[in-house]
Symmetry: C2
Subunit: 429 residues, 2 copies
């Protein structure tokens, strides 16, 4: 084993960073044996230098992250600050000064992954980010390496723990969205401002990263169709149950049937209770991957939290350190397929639509005619009503989002349709 | 991209090998883009050269596998023959002649993995075998690389599809073992001689491989305690249901509570229906991994079959080819921890024991005394009986296998115990 240590600079020492530092210290001998050389924490860049950090030598703490990554003798920079800046500049500076980078930063990778990979390549360094998607669950490495000889057709996943906790609570207790969100906040599963989670921004960043790797194509954050889950109601869960389904916020990356384009989207959807993703409870994450040769694979585990995320960061750290010792780099960006990313209108799936309608003869015929005129085939219809008010629940066969959109627009114009109570996609069949 | 192709020799062209060859041809452009150079099938060694093999150039087919691996210009040998010889000699010959090796051979890796890794290291070549455990499910790479910065404490898995199909059928239909085996055979899930599957030999080989990688310790096939599932009865499933459990054939690799030793075993066991492994149906495989930092992860997918196994082989092939182009090798054997492997007697778990007893006063007291004398604490007892015959079902708290063995031996000697109907471990709690 090499005795001269590899030097690691840690940017950020919050929930994840402090756990990375702790494990680097407590498991130093194991890490050294697995890497082939000891690793040494050479500096820890923080915003608040006066905060007491147990187990971290105060002499290593600095507020000058830029000076740390420019030090010149750093082998690996671990970036767990999050957000776009200063993380982006620090990472590119790190490459320019000879370091490889391990990051947990989903927002940055989703937005600027291509440019960051290019910077890494230019300097012959590694950029790894297993922790950016689904915490401790090995997902980037299996997609990029284990399935490198296969053709991935679909990635379907629960990649946000906060929203899964809320939806699971709504499903289990019959609570409404606000009540379940309050519980999640009280238990620490939701942040004070839950926007990034409940509006699907977090999941969309992960979908962009997963789609890019799965399809060997650059997928930008703007390419991902995004709908949050704040409008999911207890009534939606009741409807889902009648169909033998539950509701999950899903990230879905699909190759079109003709193989010539891909789509990526995040939205709440009904999935059958028999689907393995339906059983993913609380704040757990799980990702289903469908490939041509391997069939259906699922990866399940904790999608967030200091320790699980640190586990993913340290797995990358070991890999990147090994690569440095070998004078090699691991697999970088693979975007050779360069498939076009189609808009949401091209996505084909099934729909569950609840309509408030007038309770009089002929309404169903009118509604069915509108579906037919837009080429959307109806699977089942359920009608119920009293006192002149009625509801109509329509479940369609597979149709394009554009066709469904046109159908709904036309339905709203019918005198007999008082309102469209909800539209939800049905996935996982 | 390099234009000179990497040369691949395929040893074996059965269900897996023919699928590897097919994908290498149909997906040649994708493989080349992902590797950075084209890959060329340089030869296919088979036993029956006259068999028609669609899509394979007959000029590449040979019966002389030894000459093929000695050819000198082969970059990667893909071994999908199975069994110990001639596979072992062909692999070591391949290393000696400069090739890296991708294998799907669980029996050989479990028996001789250490020697084969040493041969690979001696010649600076790679030995990869993702396909040897759980078919297409990425498991070796996540354990070896993604969790390289973590401490794995337990691996608990369903790693044999045949036996899971049989047990699932017994659970679902109430069938007995023989009836379910006959169905599995008729449907092609069980081989004409099912011994390797139903007696747990196949799962034990996988357990040895998984334990070795998880604990950075050499675990030989002989170190794995093995019990088959041929004696599981419909009555056992009825008992399991009463406990809210089902029965699975599990491969269990555990680090002892003090961290100083490990165990590996394969046997049927009851697991709670709430455990994710309980929902693994038909011939699917799934492996639960518990680590210090990452918590509980699960990997799920098809554990066998030509296409899924070929997917795993090709993922390894891409990695090994990339390594060759980089002039590097991937992670090899990691056995630095060299923990002792404890015997089955040291394993601590819970037990479900069914006794046939005389239906008279004082029997329970006698039985309970025997448990107490051996230090095995009882969790629940259920008594039922009529006409002088009775049964007693005892579920214990955690105890060592040695203590339980002593208890059962003493129970058999009691006049009032007519027989021990079944003993089954209870796992996954």
């Amino acid at each position: 084993m090499r005795t001269r240590p590899l030097k690691v600079a840690l940017l950020g020492c919050g929930v994840v960073g402090s756990e990375v530092a702790r494990i680097m210290t407590t498991h130093a001998a194991d890490l050294a044996a697995r890497i082939g050389a000891p690793v040494e924490l050479a500096g820890v860049a923080v915003r608040r230098p006066d905060k007491v950090r147990e187990g971290i030598d105060p002499a290593l703490v600095t507020t000058d992250a830029t000076a740390l990554v420019k030090q010149g003798d750093i082998d690996v920079v671990v970036e767990v600050i999050g957000g776009i800046e200063p993380a982006r500049t620090l990472i590119t500076t790190a490459f320019a000064h000879g370091a490889s980078v391990v990051s947990a930063n989903k927002a940055l990778i989703a937005q600027d992954g291509a440019a960051l990979h290019a910077a890494a390549d230019e300097h012959g360094r590694d950029l790894y980010y297993e922790a950016a998607v689904a915490g401790a669950i090995p997902l980037i490495r299996p997609l990029r390496e284990s399935l490198a000889g296969d053709k991935v057709n679909r990635v379907l996943g629960i990649v946000n723990g906060t929203t899964n906790f809320i939806l699971d609570a709504m499903d289990t207790t019959g609570a409404g969205y606000q009540e379940a969100l309050d519980e999640a906040t009280a238990l620490g599963y939701a942040e004070a401002d839950p926007t990034a989670d409940v509006e699907g921004f977090d999941a969309a960043a992960k979908a962009a990263i997963l789609a890019g790797i799965a399809f060997h194509t650059r997928v930008r954050l703007d390419d991902v169709h995004r709908e949050g889950m704040t409008e999911v109601t207890a009534a939606d869960f009741a409807s889902a149950k009648e169909m033998g389904c539950t509701i999950k916020l899903l990230a879905i990356c699909e190759r079109a049937a003709d193989g010539a384009s891909v789509t990526a989207r995040v939205h709440p959807a009904m999935i059958p209770l028999s689907h393995p993703l339906a059983g993913v409870r609380e704040a757990y994450n799980a990702v289903f991957v469908e490939s041509e040769a391997s069939g259906q694979l699922m990866f399940y585990g904790p999608g967030a939290g200091g320790s699980p995320t640190a586990s993913a960061v340290l797995g990358d750290l070991v890999a990147v350190c090994r690569n440095r010792l070998a004078g090699a780099t691991g697999p970088g960006e693979s975007a050779y397929a360069a498939l076009p990313v189609s808009p949401m209108g091209d996505v084909v799936t099934r729909y569950h639509i609840s309509l408030d309608v007038a309770d009089k003869p002929g309404v169903l015929a009118q509604v069915a005619t509108v579906f037919a005129e837009h080429g959307v085939s109806i699977d089942t219809v359920r009608q119920s009503g009293k006192d002149g008010e009625a509801s109509l629940v329509v479940v369609t066969h597979r149709a394009s989002d554009a066709a469904l959109g046109g159908t709904v627009e036309a339905l709203r114009k019918l005198d007999t349709v008082r309102g469209v109570a909800s539209i939800m996609r049905v996935e996982g069949e």
